[in-house]
Symmetry: C2
Subunit: 79 residues, 2 copies
C-alpha cells in the first residue's frame, strides 16, 4: 500500500536549509518568505488495509524517518 511521509522541522526550530533557499530566492528577486525545508518519503508498505498501513507508516516515520525532537511528520495513505 502506497504511503507518503512528510517530515518537516518543528515550529521554532532553526532550519538552515530553508533559510539558505530563502536567501537565494531573495537574491534572484523572487518574492518568497518563510521558507521551510523538509523531506518526503514515498514507500510501499505491506499491509492488509489502509489502517494497517497507517499504523506501520506512523511507527516508521516516528522511529526511522524523523527525529521527533526537532521534526514533525505527517502520514498520507494513498486511496
Amino acid at each position: 500500500m502506497k504511503v507518503t511521509v512528510l517530515v518537516r522541522p518543528r515550529d521554532g526550530i532553526l532550519d538552515p536549509q530553508g533559510e539558505a533557499v530563502r536567501r537565494s530566492l531573495a537574491g534572484l528577486g523572487y518574492p518568497a518568505a518563510d521558507v521551510r525545508a523538509g523531506k518526503v518519503f514515498d514507500l510501499d508498505v505491506d499491509a492488509d488495509d489502509a489502517e494497517g498501513a497507517r499504523r506501520i507508516a506512523d511507527e516508521i516515520a516516528g522511529k526511522v524517518l524523523s527525529n521527533p525532537l526537532i521534526e514533525q511528520y505527517q502520514v498520507e495513505v494513498a486511496g
Copy 2:
C-alpha cells in the same frame, strides 16, 4: 500565499537515500519496499491570487528547488 513544493527523484533515476532507508527498514523488520526520498519546501509567496502564486512557485520549483534532469516537482497552493 502559502505554497508547498514537493521535489522527488524521477522514475528510473537512482535514489541512494531512499535505498539506504529501505535497507534500514528491512534490517529493522519493517515490511516496506520501493522507498523513494525527496524534499518538501513550504514557502510564502507574495502574489495576488492562487494562480499568480502557482506561476511564481512553478518557476521557483523548476529553476531553484529542483534539478529538472533528475528530479520532478509538484506545486500545491494552499486554500
